[in-house]
């Protein structure tokens, strides 16, 4: 009988240090049949087990067309992620997944896409940006608003400049604390929304980052005339099973691990921003 609790072994193929606290692992299932059967959507996540220590939910950041591997970008925040940061190519982890509902990439074809991310936890949206760049003709104008606390926190700097050189792509950066060499704006990422020549009827907004930032962004977007059904965001909660069983990740009647992690604002309007949910 298939047991959804038991991980499969995956081997680390490559490891990239993205910043002092962020690293990316490129993984491959040891069992090629499992690797061949592995399919996912941008925004979905895996449960990753560090031997003997623990299991955490991490989003998948590569393109779904990459069939021989999958990437996890991980920030050191606790015991398990810290342990994972010490892993090297050839080491193993356990993987269960993919879980959850990702970004509505099919549904939003042809629309202008506005991506807003804040803080360091921007991995779920980076996968979307890469996805869009590979399928540039399927989507309208693309605006990327990225906020960081400190200018030094910005990772993937080169990629942002490559992306901004593309046709109809606008990249705006903001740092709460700017440095001399900082080329973006100083302030909150949500302040950038006002600067955009937005076509609200055509725009779909995809948000990821701290909830307070997303809450402010939702308010700004609604003010600009973006429809509630066109605002999507990725939520984080304590997740232990990934299959809607353990009860930790509930937000009202929804479970983040199954109904999310990507939600439409419509679906969570009663609870988004309500303390305690």
């Amino acid at each position: 009988m298939f047991d959804p609790h038991v991980p499969h072994v995956a081997v680390i193929d490559q490891r990239v240090q993205e910043s002092p606290t962020i690293f990316t692992l490129r993984l491959q299932y040891e069992d090629t049949r499992v690797q061949d059967a592995f399919e996912f959507d941008p925004g979905q996540f895996n449960m990753v087990t560090l031997f003997g220590i623990g299991e955490i939910a991490i989003s998948i950041v590569n393109d779904p067309l990459d069939s021989h591997f999958f990437d996890h970008t991980i920030r050191v925040v606790g015991r398990v992620s810290e342990g994972m940061s010490k892993l090297q190519p050839g080491d193993h982890v356990g993987i269960r997944g993919p879980f959850g509902r990702g970004w509505p990439m099919e549904q939003i074809k042809g629309r202008d896409i506005l991506l807003i991310t804040g803080g360091l936890g921007c991995a779920p949206l980076v996968s979307v940006i890469r996805y869009l760049m590979r399928r540039r003709d399927d989507y309208g104008r693309i605006s990327i608003l990225q906020g960081v606390k400190h200018a030094d926190d910005l990772i993937w700097k080169e990629q942002y400049s490559v992306w901004s050189a593309e046709k109809d792509v606008r990249v705006l950066l903001a740092a709460d604390v700017a440095t001399q060499s900082w080329q973006g704006q100083q302030g909150m990422v949500t302040e950038l929304i006002a600067q955009l020549p937005l076509r609200p009827q055509r725009t779909v907004a995809l948000l990821c980052g701290p909830e307070l930032m997303m809450l402010a962004a939702v308010a700004n977007l609604r003010e600009k005339g973006v429809q509630d059904g066109d605002i999507w965001f990725s939520m984080e909660r304590n997740m232990q099973c990934g299959i809607g069983q353990c009860g930790h990740c509930q937000i009202g009647p929804k479970t983040v691990c199954q109904d999310g992690p990507v939600f439409c604002y419509d679906e969570l309007a009663d609870f988004f921003g309500a303390k305690g949910f």
């Binding site: 298939f2 003997g52 232990q240 069983q245 009860g247």
Partner: protein, 376 residues
């Protein structure tokens, strides 16, 4: 009259004398079942392994009130005169603590650890707990990833239900539609009378057992007593919940002042979630062996009242008692409706009796739903 009553027609029970109850135990053992049934332990009715009918309690009933549970010894010979103790079927199918899988670091491998299960007959199951079992079945088995541990335990069961001929003061199963009469979800049904039992099969699994019992025909008077008992037990209930549509309004009252009122009394001890037959939260954590070579994933019951339940590492989503009680009640009575198509409460009243400070969810619910306090 009775013999035409739809319930009688569907049950078609036979009569078993009190002495002949032993025969049921013998047949169950012969068929290879281990038997779980009620015993008095630590001052409460608990399910434990039994080998003979004379191990069942006799003349034991219970007084249950908010924050209060006491057994009472009477003169009568009844063996199922109690309502229920702190636990029903939940720990039988959803183990309080179990190993899910084992891992080895070199070479790396993860192995399932299936539970060691014997066919088990549970004697004395109540209607509210069968309803709760159906809810847990949906939770653990109906999704795209059914739980193999739960399934194995669940499929090993033969359920022998008993009508409740009386209600405790904390019971309100009539208002949730889950009791006091048995209504599906069991294999063999029983109704206790002074002189013995009416007994019937409800499933094919149950038929194998019933066919070996040499039942006597039930008299009209006995059938009448069976119907009357559960009707009276139902009428005697003192508590109820508002209807389901009204309960959905709990989500519109997230800032009602009464949540603070409950929070002043609630200890966040989690007793209510531990005794609740539908609560399903669990935490899963790694336990490493001393040599560091092997480890196992252990799952244990968790509670939305625990500090770690909503932990995000650096912060908790629900740091306050008010937020935790609100999470529990709104999920149970409102959230569950969209998740499962019914509320997550079967009216057993355990959370009322086993709350150390006597918090009564029926009263708290009504207070939160009171008019004039709708969130704007």
């Amino acid at each position: 009259m009775n013999s035409q009553d739809p319930q009688v027609v569907s049950r078609r029970p036979g009569f078993l004398t009190r002495d002949a109850l032993e025969k049921l135990f013998i047949v169950l053992s012969q068929l290879g079942y281990q038997i779980l049934g009620p015993v008095v332990r630590d001052g409460a009715i608990q399910f434990d392994t039994l080998s003979a009918a004379d191990q069942l309690p006799r003349g034991v009933s219970n007084d249950q009130q908010p924050g209060h549970y006491r057994l009472e010894q009477g003169e009568n010979q009844r063996q199922f005169d109690w309502n229920h103790g702190p636990q029903g079927l939940k720990p039988v199918c959803f183990s309080p603590r179990e190993v899910l899988w084992a891992e080895q670091s070199n070479p790396p491998v993860f192995n399932p650890v299936p539970p060691n299960i014997e066919p088990t007959a549970v004697v004395g199951v109540r209607a509210c707990d069968l309803a709760a079992l159906a809810i847990q079945d949906r939770h653990f088995l109906s999704g795209s990833d059914p739980d193999p541990h739960y399934r194995q335990r669940r499929e090993s069961l033969l359920l022998i239900g008993v009508d409740c001929a009386r209600s405790a003061a904390t019971c309100f199963c009539a208002s949730t539609g889950d009791g006091p009469a048995l209504d599906g979800g069991y294999d063999i049904g029983m109704a206790e009378l002074d002189e013995g039992f009416l007994i019937w099969r409800e499933s094919d699994k149950g038929r194998t057992v019933i066919d070996q019992l040499d039942l006597l025909p039930a008299s009209d008077a006995q059938l009448e007593t069976m119907l009357q008992s559960t009707t009276q037990a139902s009428l005697a209930q003192q508590r109820n919940l508002p209807d389901c549509d009204e309960l959905l309004l709990l989500y519109k009252r997230l800032e009602h002042a009464h949540w603070d009122n409950v929070a002043e009394r609630c200890l966040s001890c989690g007793n209510c979630t531990a005794v609740c037959p539908t609560c399903f939260c669990y935490e899963a954590s790694h336990e490493m062996s001393l040599d560091g070579e092997t480890a196992q994933m252990v799952r244990q019951w968790d509670s939305c009242f625990s500090a770690t339940h909503s932990s995000m590492g650096q912060y908790q989503v629900r740091p306050t008692v008010k937020q935790r009680y609100r999470q529990w009640l709104t999920h149970k009575l409102a959230g569950w409706q969209s998740q499962q198509g019914r509320i997550g409460c079967t009216g057993c009243g355990r959370c009322i009796a086993w709350c150390p400070v006597g918090i009564d969810l029926t009263a708290e619910t009504v207070a939160v739903l009171e008019e004039g306090s709708l969130d704007v």
